[in-house]
Amino acid sequence: MQDNKIELTVVTYDDIFASSFSRDKFGKEYREKAARLSMDESDMNALGIKDRVELSNENGSVVVYASKSTAKRGHPGLAYIPLSIYSNILASSDTRRIKVSASKTEKEVHGLEELLKACFPARN
């Protein structure tokens, strides 16, 4: 199961909880809301994940929190995440719809300070 991967289309959206904390992007609350992927239960089961997932594609990779979607209709293969620097690590020209590979991970979700250091090494 460790090497299991599934392909997902990630759609970004404006989340009220993430945007509530958007003026404090370095805070813990923002990280917990913005770095959160809402997934179909079947996709979570297929990967054997409970609370975190690693997303990667040709643009980069990022670890985010994973939550079971509250949508009444199933949406396997489709997942949702607030638009933020976390989703933008994976984005090509379109920041709204992103194709990724998702896999199980034991890694932690980075805060913004660590993320900036990793993404912009020349500036640190």
């Binding site: 759609v11 945007s19 912009f120």
Partner: protein, 388 residues
């Protein structure tokens, strides 16, 4: 104390601060007011080192003057006077000016009277069919449905939501779908195709779609056709999926048989104002992202905005390699990566001014609290303009 919340472009004017309570505001608006002192940009910096304000402004002016291909970015949460200064500066230095709004095309169509529109007050009083297209208002503009559209009782809609149809068209089962009576889930990037199908149905043809049944589209078309007073609220998700020309064609077709208006769900409190300023000054908004990707930008002035959270990392990396000046109230990824960062008072909380709601109605906002040392964005812009 009564105030106007500038948390989004609803500009709710019934918010009150009663003791320690922020009454009537949504989660977003209340947090913005309650936590306005958190994560503030403490002092002017150059390469992360603290400097005096005058020196920071002088350095910023030098960067802008030396640039061959400058850009001016952001401004969606700036007051109108700061927006006017920024556009004036953009004209002077022939800059790429961009606010990253996904509603630029719709706003322009409305301002040039090519797209029929109305005010939110008219929606409240009259609308019987409300369409949220690629817009999750419950998240992006939390009080939109309860104050202006679906739920309130209006002059000619005394029964409130009982007399209204609210329809959602989206790629996902959003929070707004939970509230609306009807919804249509479509695959990403298929908005243009759905518009064509609806137009076919309006013409009496049987629409053929790859994702919705003909019956579902015909029923939707009939609902739109029978509207006495319809409104389409366009969301950010429509950008890139349907072009503004398609939207105009769709609205013209619809209005040949019905009575529909369009209002963009402008992202920030003064996104609509910025479109109006550009329109007044006849200055063209051009794509910063495209210019940056082509290596055509060598310096950027960023006003109360964090482009790092709005664009792909590859472009953010390019942005971090050029000379950047940021004026902002808060510490953001952009202020961390900028050459010069200058703090300003928080717009709408420590600094007042005029803003334009998503429907084009102008509001005057008074400051709520006295500013704590920092100066207003418009004053910093004036200092910059004097040096350039």
């Amino acid at each position: 104390m009564e105030l106007i919340c500038n948390g989004c472009s609803c500009l709710c004017d019934d918010v009150e601060i009663i003791g320690n309570e922020i009454a009537h505001a949504c989660r977003k608006g209340a947090e913005f007011i309650r936590r306005y002192k958190t994560n503030r940009l403490a002092s002017p910096t150059i390469n992360g080192e603290r400097v005096e304000l005058d020196y920071a402004v002088k350095s910023a002016a030098e960067i802008i003057k030396k640039a061959k291909n400058p850009a001016v970015l952001g401004m969606g949460s700036s007051m109108l006077d700061a927006q006017r200064s920024a556009v004036e500066l953009g004209e002077k230095i022939k800059a790429t000016v961009d606010d990253f709004s996904t509603h630029a095309g719709v706003c322009r169509g409305i301002l040039e009277r090519e797209i029929k529109t109305c005010t939110l007050d008219e929606v409240k009083d009259n609308a019987d069919v409300i369409v949220y297209w690629a817009s999750d208002a419950s998240n992006s503009h939390p009080r939109h449905l309860s104050r202006f559209t679906y739920l309130p009782r209006g002059k000619n809609r005394q029964k409130g939501f009982e007399e209204r149809d609210a329809i959602c068209i989206d790629v996902r089962e959003s929070s707004t779908i939970e509230v609306c009576r009807q919804f249509h889930i479509i695959p990403p990037m298929k908005d243009g195709e759905l518009m064509k199908c609806i137009m076919e149905a309006l013409d009496g043809k049987v629409p053929k779609s790859s994702f919705l049944g003909s019956k579902e589209i015909i029923e939707l078309s009939n609902k739109l056709k029978k509207a006495e007073y319809g409104v389409i609220f366009t969301g950010a998700g429509l950008d890139g999926s349907a072009r503004v020309n398609e939207l105009k064609e769709f609205m013209n077709k619809l209005n040949a048989v019905s009575n529909f208006h369009m209002i963009p769900m402008a992202e920030q409190c003064n996104t609509r104002g910025f479109s109006q300023v550009l329109h007044e000054r006849k200055y063209e908004r051009t794509s910063f992202k495209e210019a940056l990707a082509k290596g055509k930008i060598d310096a950027a002035l960023v006003l109360c905005f964090d482009p790092i959270s709005e664009m792909p990392l590859s472009l953010s990396r390019s942005l971090s390699k050029i000379q950047t000046v940021v004026i902002d109230s808060y510490k953001t990824p952009m202020t961390e990566l900028s050459k010069v960062a200058i703090p300003c008072a928080v717009n709408g909380i420590e600094a007042g001014g005029e803003v334009i709601r998503m429907d084009g109605v102008k509001f005057g906002i008074n400051k709520i609290y006295e500013k704590d040392g920092s100066i207003e964005e418009k004053e910093i812009m004036k200092m910059l303009m004097d040096l350039i």
